[in-house]
């Protein structure tokens, strides 16, 4: 008697799916060492102009006006933290949509979706691999920046920061699921992810404090998970604030995460059903 492959998947089986997806994506990454080195090093060059701009405008490493708004006059760590956390946005937002698209290019998307497993676990595997690679890149950028610009990194600071990064990643998972859904249906999610990237870049305090934006822009900024992550991480790293003192921002971040994740899974399931019905899954 042949065994049906359509047996309900066990949790262990599904965890294998997550693990294998993670391993597959890491193998892809390691197969192109130049790309790996590029993402680990080059984002540092993107924020160096802001540091040089600071030196030209204030003539030192401290800005009195910056201190009035943010509580710390040191603009270099402010810029470094903004850039490192923003790199998660770059890799996760573009990565997930492109990951699905890459399966289509490679001709493996149909097989992935025909596999007898819950597709949510495939997505979790993809999201995990993006998170692991993003964290490796962020860690290398932060370490190099700490060595170059003399930032203080201790375990007592890094542990709560890591917790906040996980919360940020969860919110970004939600958004990237929406993008992956767009990718399935409309094939080119690139413009949508770029536009979301623009909104994050302008309305979140990546390069400047959120208080410097007009009120309307600040309201938009407060709907973005990156805004809260940046506020909390900067408070911990630059002002020495404890995690418990930031309970309101953490609560807001968790609420945004839940909303984005629910919206992401709903959108993805909806689009998956639609593409399966229309037979456009493997279209480019």
């Amino acid at each position: 008697m042949t065994q049906s492959i359509y047996e309900p998947s066990s949790l262990r089986g599904n965890l294998f799916v997550v693990w294998d997806e993670l391993v597959k994506n890491m193998k892809f990454l390691m197969a192109y060492p130049v790309i790996f080195i590029f993402w680990a090093l080059f984002p540092i060059l993107w924020f160096i102009p802001f540091i040089l701009q600071g030196q030209a405008f204030v003539g030192g490493l401290q800005s009195a006006n910056f201190a009035q708004i943010t509580g710390s006059g040191e603009y270099i760590p402010f810029i470094v933290i903004g850039a490192v956390l923003n790199s998660y946005v770059n890799t996760l937002l573009y990565g997930m949509g492109e990951n699905i698209r890459r399966e289509a290019y490679q001709g493996t998307l149909d097989y992935v979706f025909a596999a007898p497993c819950n597709k949510a676990y495939v997505l979790i595997g993809k999201a995990l691999s993006e998170s692991v690679s993003s964290t490796i890149f962020a860690a290398s950028q932060l370490t190099i920046s700490a060595l170059l610009f003399g930032m203080n990194l201790t375990l007592g600071v890094l542990l709560p920061v890591f917790f906040i990064v996980i919360l940020l990643i969860l919110g970004l998972y939600g958004l990237s699921l929406v993008l992956a859904a767009f990718s399935l249906m409309y094939k080119q999610s690139h413009d949508v992810s770029e536009t979301i990237g623009y909104i994050f870049y302008v309305f979140s305090p990546v390069r400047y404090p959120i208080e410097s934006l007009p009120t309307g822009a600040q309201i938009i900024g407060k709907l973005i998970p990156l805004t809260y992550a940046l506020i909390i991480v900067r408070a911990i790293m630059l002002l020495g604030t404890s995690l418990s003192a930031m309970y309101w921002e953490i609560f807001a971040l968790i609420i945004i995460d839940v909303v984005f994740l629910l919206a992401g899974f709903y959108m993805f399931n909806w689009m998956e059903t639609k593409t399966k019905k229309s037979g456009t899954m493997s279209h480019h």
Binding site: L45, P49, Q53, G59, S63, Q188
Partner: protein, 297 residues
């Protein structure tokens, strides 16, 4: 049968060759058609087109807002000490308009051949009786106009939001400097286009050059805040002398941080980069065809 053969004989096309007016006209026509093709592709994706038009504003805003927060206004004493003018908005705007044109050279021109490869049309273009450089120059023309429209939008936005005080009388010489800079950037773009034929993950080369040129160009800071070695390295790219020259003509009281003949510097750079670019492209073109690498991804 013989009659059929005669009837369906392929039409012979006489292609002008050599250095003559007819050939030049034909090559210019190929460049123009390549430019038209790029516009048609642009208009086929209106969302992407609009996004690309607003992106210069999106990426310039952080420089301005960050600058304003640093000094708590738009006048920087320290900047005034360095270059004679403290207006950070005018300083950043005149610097940032160049960034998009660096992108023209590095991305639009550099990736023109690679894009054709993705579309599956590179080999078809290669067998047409026209110079391969025409494709790259057509993209350069398209991208320069595209970026020009983006720059006008940047200007309108900055003028409406912050106000701008620029020397109107300096616009013509500034445009002359800009034109010289673009020639040198075109040469640079041809080099990148040639590299993208060999290096299949050429975006890394483009992004690396773009990042390095951004640092070496005095976009949001004067050249003198860079270390001496970096200052010297910036002289081989056209953006640093061009920015200093353009600011000298456009911003009142601006004192150039490096005193040199900007026009002469840019003429030499333009000639050098274009000659180097054409040479590298020619050699690469021969190499990839010999090795049969055109189809490889």
């Amino acid at each position: 049968m013989e009659k059929n053969k005669e009837k369906y004989r392929l039409r012979e096309v006489k292609c002008p060759t050599g250095v003559n007016w007819t050939n030049l006209r034909a090559e210019l026509s190929a460049i123009w058609q390549s430019n038209i093709k790029a516009w048609k592709i642009d208009f086929a994706y209106p969302v992407s087109f609009i996004r690309q038009l607003i992106s210069p504003i999106v990426f310039m805003l952080p420089y301005i807002l960050y600058g304003l927060v640093l000094i708590g206004g738009r006048y920087s004493e320290n900047l005034a000490q360095l270059v004679g003018t403290g207006d950070v908005v005018a300083f950043i705007f005149t610097g940032y308009i160049m960034m998009g044109f660096i992108g023209t050279a590095v991305w639009a021109m550099g990736f023109s051949m690679r894009r054709e490869q993705w579309f599956g049309t590179l080999e078809a273009i290669y067998v047409t009786p026209a110079s391969r450089l025409g494709q790259v120059l057509g993209m350069a023309l398209h991208s320069t106009v595209h970026q020009g429209v983006g720059t006008i939008m940047q200007f309108i936005f900055i003028y409406a939001t912050f106000g701008l005080a620029l020397n109107v009388s300096g616009i013509l010489p500034a445009l002359a400097i800009f034109a010289l800079m673009m020639f040198a950037l075109y040469g640079f773009g041809i080099v990148i286009a040639a590299l993208s034929l060999i290096l299949k993950e050429g975006w890394i080369v483009s992004d690396s050059f773009y990042s390095i040129m951004t640092i070496l160009s005095p976009v949001a800071y004067p050249l003198i805040v860079l270390p001496t070695l970096a200052q010297q390295a910036s002289y081989i790219f056209p953006t640093a002398p061009a920015l200093i020259g353009i600011r000298t003509f456009l911003i009142q009281n601006y004192v150039p941080e490096v005193v040199s003949n900007v026009f002469l510097h840019l003429i030499i750079l333009s000639a050098a980069w274009i000659l180097f670019g054409v040479l590298v492209f020619h050699l690469t073109d021969k190499y990839v065809r010999k090795r049969g690498m055109l189809k490889k991804f």
